[in-house]
């Protein structure tokens, strides 16, 4: 099976779930790293990453904190929330904070994969748009596009 070159981190304190999922993703050609809590996730994300699949309820640092930190420091990483606690309020907060998608457990693996692929494509497309703008000399707009897609953090915020 061809490997799809999307760099994924799975973050969840439920070890059995996350390990099994990683294995299944691996069988489908996705290399996924795992982290069992917030701090480890943030450490992992310093390595090149495209998509993080993130649980919300974790002991210590919860998912929202990780989301905030990632969007601030690694804005080019897409975040997909995958949680067993899925209230409407939490969903809205996640989107507001820059998550790409909000999925509820238990989910179908194909659904997750679709979401990961779309998140990656979205990221790449935006980068390409920015690049073409930049090549055209329009650095302003390039920056705007990247900012809008949360790929480039607003450093002044």
């Amino acid at each position: 099976m061809t490997k799809e070159d999307i760099k994924i981190i799975l973050v969840d304190d439920e070890k059995q779930f996350v390990d099994t999922l990683a294995e299944r993703l691996a069988m489908r050609g996705f290399a996924a790293r795992v982290a069992y809590d917030g701090p480890s996730a943030l450490k992992e994300v310093t390595q090149p990453t495209d998509v993080i699949v993130l649980d919300l309820r974790m002991p210590g640092m919860d998912g929202f904190e990780v989301l905030r930190s990632v969007k601030k420091n690694n804005p080019q990483v897409q975040v997909i929330i995958l949680t067993g606690h899925g209230g409407d309020a939490e969903e809205q907060t996640a989107y507001r904070m820059g998550a790409y998608n909000f999925l509820r457990k238990p989910m179908d693996i194909d659904e997750l994969l679709t979401s990961i692929r779309m998140a990656y494509r979205d990221k790449v497309e935006n980068a390409m748009v920015a690049v073409s703008l930049a090549e055209g000399g329009d650095f302003e707009s390039a920056r705007e596009v990247l900012k809008e897609k949360d790929i480039l953090a607003d450093r002044d915020a």
Binding site: F17, T20, E23, R24, M27, R57, P59, G84, R104, K105
Partner: protein
């Protein structure tokens, strides 16, 4: 005795706290009695004061004219009698014995006297042996012997004397004026003059008998000297004893034989043994007052009746409104409690749903992986690969167990929600509640501890409501811990401790979270008071307080800002009798 009275009053007027018919009946009674008492008491006091004042004034009013009449009559009588006596005295001193012994002279003098003064009837000269040696008048009294007679003695002692009345000439009462004379030559004699009491009568009662006041003279034996309206004509005896004579005019109230009250003025006539009696019936003067009093009494009793009726109606109206308001409040509280119950069920439902999602996800992934392994032909006859499958399936099994455990707790809760009163062990209830919040606590890094140093006795209470109370308290503590970012080196905890205290169980929920200021502490149990911005209704603690009260217990809180909070719930082992839940 006093204790019994006190007990009776306590029972009659003790207002029960619970919303019940008895409460409002007692309240109505109590308030009506209070209102009536407060309205009527001053009224009655005023009435009594006015009444006694008025009576005093009235009596004064009556006594004064009587007294002045008595005095005036007394003065007139004294003047008249004094004048008469002086006249006789003058004659006794103007003439000598020899002069007067001569009957012609005596006659002449007598006629001269009669021409100037009305009323004199006869005149006589009595020597010192007591023999009337000269007489002029209509009777055959010459030579009469008065030796040893009291009047003679009195005259000799006093010098001048007025006798009591006696039946005289023409059947009319007369009295005698006698004057004793001791001449320089040693001659001793008495001049005696009789006079009718007509003039006396006229002075005593100037207007005839048309007055309501009875004025008459009596002597010291109680014999009438003049006519009396009440007691008969002169010379009859009055039926009652007169009190001892006083120097001043005396006014006495006296009940007559006919049952009426009389006012009597007594005065002495100077120079005599006579007493002037002025009697007026009291009731004639009082009649207009009595009529007025009757009317006033009607008004007062009418007024009191009106006060009682109006108070009764007013209190009934007010208490009914109070009752409606209380009932509304109870209904609203019940509604709020009910809503909160709904909320807590909802919360539990959400909790279980979320909790169960995770194991479901694990099962799904594992089953999915097993599927993957099979489809991708990764499983050959290899023992190791088969073992992988088996391990996966076993993993699923243990996850199922885990999920079952989650559901087990909730089932227990839902099932027990129905029963409202049962014997239970509060440790169980608390452990169960902790179970619900365990995961959330773990997520937030808060340590949940339950400490029961000694086994607690059974408590009779409502399981569902108890759970609600502790769910609320511990849930709040969790929230407080979550917002608190101080003292990161100290482990954050919530400690629940239960001990027996006499006939009660005391449970404390202590945390080392952000604590509460004095301001917050003051309002914490008030409705719609919340320190959570945008979250919650502010009713949680209010309802918790109400539930604890309903369970017969009491809840208190202590807190230090920045250090932590401790709630203490005290519950009786056996709750008071309360009506069953709707």
């Amino acid at each position: 005795m006093l204790d019994r009275l006190k007990a009776y009053f306590a029972r009659a007027f003790e207002v029960p706290d619970a919303v019940s018919p008895a409460r409002y009946e007692t309240l109505k009674r109590l308030m009506t009695v209070l209102m009536v008492t407060v309205s009527v008491a001053p009224l009655l006091i005023l009435t009594f004061i006015s009444h006694s004042q008025y009576m005093q004034t009235l009596e004064g009013e009556m006594e004064n004219p009587l007294e002045s009449l008595a005095r005036k009559t007394q003065a007139a009588l004294e003047l008249y009698l004094g004048e008469r006596v002086s006249t006789v005295s003058f004659m006794a001193h103007a003439y000598h014995l020899q002069t007067l012994s001569d009957e012609h002279t005596l006659n002449r003098i007598f006629l001269a006297l009669k021409s100037q003064y009305q009323g004199f009837v006869d005149m006589g000269l009595v020597d010192k042996t007591g023999r009337q040696i000269a007489y002029v008048g209509p009777y055959q009294l010459k030579g009469a012997d008065y030796a040893g007679k009291q009047w003679l003695k009195d005259t000799e002692i006093r010098g001048r004397y007025i006798s009591p009345a006696f039946l005289g000439y023409r059947g009319y009462p007369h009295l005698v004026i006698a004057v004793h004379r001791l001449e320089e030559n040693g001659a001793e004699w008495t001049l005696r003059v009789a006079t009718d009491t007509l003039r006396l009568q006229q002075i005593a009662v100037p207007d005839g008998k048309s007055r309501d006041t009875d004025v008459f003279l009596v002597d010291n034996q109680g014999v009438l000297q003049t006519d009396s309206i009440l007691y008969g004509k002169a010379l009859e005896k009055i039926p009652f004893q007169l009190p001892h004579a006083l120097h001043d005019t005396e006014i006495i109230r006296k009940e007559g034989d006919d049952g009426r009250m009389y006012l009597m003025a007594l005065c002495t006539i100077e120079g005599t043994d006579f007493r002037l009696v002025t009697i007026k019936p009291v009731d004639t003067a009082f009649r207009p007052w009595l009529a007025l009093r009757a009317e006033l009494l009607w008004v007062i009793f009418g007024g009191i009746a009106l006060i009682v009726i109006v108070s009764n109606l007013l209190m009934r109206h007010l208490v009914d409104r109070l009752r409606a308001s209380d009932e509304r409040r109870v209904a609203v509280f019940a509604q709020m409690e009910h809503n909160q119950k709904l909320s807590s069920i909802g919360r539990l439902a959400a909790g279980v749903a979320h909790e169960v999602n995770n194991p479901l996800a694990v099962i799904l992934e594992k089953a999915g992986l097993a599927q993957d392994l099979l489809t991708m032909n990764k499983i050959g006859g290899d023992e190791k690969e088969k073992q992988t499958l088996v391990k996966l399936l076993q993993g699923i099994e243990s996850t199922v167990e885990r999920a079952r455990g989650i559901t087990h707790r909730l089932l227990g809760f839902a099932r027990r929600m129905e029963v409202s009163r049962q014997a239970l062990h509060i440790e169980e209830v608390i452990e169960e509640t902790l179970g619900f919040l365990e995961r959330e606590a773990r997520n937030r890094g808060v340590l949940l501890e339950a400490d029961f140093p000694e086994p607690l006795p059974e408590l009779i209470s409502d399981r569902g409501q108890l759970q609600q109370v502790f769910l609320n308290l511990i849930g709040n503590a969790l929230d407080a811990q979550a917002e608190f970012r101080g003292k990161t080196n100290e482990a954050r905890f919530i400690r629940i401790r239960g001990v027996t205290e006499g006939q009660c169980i005391s449970v404390t929920v202590a945390d080392n979270g952000k604590g509460m200021s004095q301001e917050v502490l003051r309002h914490i149990f008030e409705p719609f008071y919340s320190t959570k911005k945008n979250k919650g209704t502010g009713l949680g603690m209010f309802i918790t307080y109400g539930i604890v009260q309903k369970l017969g217990g009491h809840i208190t809180v202590e807190s230090t800002e920045g250090e932590g909070t401790t709630f203490t719930v005290v519950l009786p082992l056996t709750p008071p009798d309360v009506s069953g839940e709707a």
